[in-house]
């Protein structure tokens, strides 16, 4: 499909989904609206994560750090400034931390980068816990000024839409091309004129800004926050899983997977928490083995190929069985003759 047509298709789908999401609280139950809010949170987190990590193939596990920074910023700032300013400040602080973190770890690749981002997340969490206990003399924070539920819903929806729109824009920009080049062969991209360090740092900060803003917006949902809640590594892991299962290099993959995960989470987590975790694990294994491009890479041809492979496997097995039966019969005949 020509690039311009793809752009129009993407924009139309985004506009239609946004319209549907805007109308949702007016006719759906509170439970569904709450489910949608979780869904938007993961769409924003996974899309923005995939924007940098999917294109550049730098596996960051620092999402929960940026989310937590945003949440704490909002908890502290909401008493002094309006709602949107607090959310913006959360994004800004998370991006600032990402710039510092990026300067320290973005020269590493692969597992080293992933482990270090996770280590830094833990460092921030424990440092904040220590600070709260020793200096502030508290374990967590109670959010006394909380905006209306509808405001939170609209803010998180706006962040999800903005994350997808940014993703559309970046994938068509020089910046996106540079990230894709870094993901494909970083040194080659350098020799073709890409200043990889600045591109990576900017991408990392952009991802962090979204995570920070989402953290700031979602913090009010809990009304009480402490470091183990908002810096929960599971937020980061789940973001990564959603993006990978959906298709980290695709635009709509993280959105599709975020919807599936939110539904799974709400239906399974409360009743069968172990089953939920197992479902995540099984989905990831299946995707890695059979669908490395993620759910968004599924096409009719994929199903046709699977069907063809399965039939082929079944036919070979039957032929093997028949061959074995034939051999066994011959053996029996020989034995009978000998007797």
């Amino acid at each position: 499909m020509p690039e311009r047509k793809v752009l129009w298709r993407d924009l139309l789908v985004l506009a239609a989904l946004t319209g549907w999401a805007l109308a949702l609280p007016h006719y759906a139950s509170e439970f569904v609206a709450s489910l949608a809010l979780t869904c938007f949170m993961y769409i924003a987190l996974a899309s923005s994560w995939a924007l940098f990590c999917g294109l550049s193939r730098y596996l960051s596990l620092a999402t929960s750090a940026f989310f937590g920074i945003g949440a704490y910023t909002s908890a502290l700032a909401l008493e002094h400034m309006p709602w949107l300013h607090a959310v913006a400040l959360g994004a800004l602080l998370a991006a600032a931390v990402a710039l510092l973190m990026g300067a320290a770890v973005l020269h590493l690749r692969g597992t080293y980068f992933a482990v270090l981002t996770f280590g830094m997340t833990e460092l921030i969490r424990h440092a904040l816990s220590y600070f709260e206990k020793q200096v502030s003399g508290t374990v967590g924070r109670v959010l006394t000024i909380v905006p209306e539920r509808n405001t939170v819903y609209l803010t998180v929806l706006a962040l999800a839409v903005l994350a997808l729109a940014t993703s559309i824009a970046v994938r068509r920009s020089r910046f996106g091309l540079a990230l894709a080049g870094i993901g494909s062969d970083e040194q080659r991209a350098q020799t073709l004129g890409v200043g990889t360090r600045s591109v990576k740092t900017a991408g990392f900060a952009l991802t962090a800004a979204f995570a920070g803003a989402v953290g700031a917006a979602m913090a009010v949902r809990w009304t009480y926050i402490d470091p183990p809640t908002v810096f929960n590594p599971f937020i980061g892991f789940q973001t990564v899983l959603i993006a990978l299962i959906g298709g980290a290099t695709t635009l709509w993959g993280p959105l599709i997977a975020a919807i599936v995960f939110s539904l799974l989470a709400e239906t399974l987590r409360l009743q069968l928490p172990q089953l939920y975790m197992m479902a995540l694990g099984v989905l990831l294994i299946l995707c890695v083995l059979h669908l490395p491009g993620g759910v968004a890479s599924l096409r009719w041809s994929t199903f046709a190929a699977w069907w063809r492979d399965t039939r082929q496997w079944w036919r070979e097995r039957r032929e093997e069985d028949t061959e074995q039966e034939r051999k066994a019969r011959r053996q029996r005949d020989r034995e009978t003759r000998n007797v």
Binding site: L177, L192, V194, R197
Partner: protein, 279 residues
Amino acid sequence: MSDVAGPLLEARHVTVRFGGLIAVDDISASFGAGELVGIIGPNGAGKTTFFNALSGVMVPTAGRLLARGRDLTGARPHRYARHGIARTFQTPRVFAEMTLAENVRFGLRFAGRRRRAETWGPAWLAAWIDRVGAPWPWRRRPGVSWLLRNELSILNVIGLAHLADMPAAAVTPSQQRLLEIGMALATRPRILLLDEVAAGLTESELQDMAQLIRRVRDELDITVVWIEHAVTTLLRHVERVLVLHQGRMIADGTPAEVVRNAEVIEAYLGDEMVEEGVA
């Protein structure tokens, strides 16, 4: 042609050490505008390491690197690319998921966009302007050939325009080697460093590659520095040869001078090869 007098790229006493091993030992060389230079030497002579230093991929342990008089020692590879130094790698390194056109567009959108093509518009218009001469804004600007004006024209130069929409992973290794040259040309370089681009090619492909390299120098006004193991072909096409042995440069001269150099014969060419008439 270069708008600055003096060498386009100069290495001054460049040394690269890996722990106790000296891969490149105090090499000084300069490459001027319009040159076609070959670098030969046995395996492990330090040819590729020298290239890595020349293109910023590796920071030399000692010595300086100057591009048109500007010191680039220690700079990152993208700065070398922006200063008009492009390179290929020994094993083709193309962006496998992208199409050939996208691969070439990559260079044009980064290092290449700093230097505009001489003229714009379709090839017939550019050819006509060349013939009759034209006033501003169509007159030739010094620097980049109009053959490098966009991805399709570059794919035409390397002979892969018919595969423009194919993914790079789907083309043959020899086409990937050509594509690598196309990607490097897309940065609109002043100097092109080619690292064994003819490795694994058949005899006819080797001749085509040599013709392409000559064309790059002659028609695109790009200085070419070419590392190759196919010595006979290389010596037939280049005008100057550097010979490296155990990290040192043991000869720098015309092919005729180099094949008569006793140290080169002993270290690399051997008597038989010289008798067969490499030059």
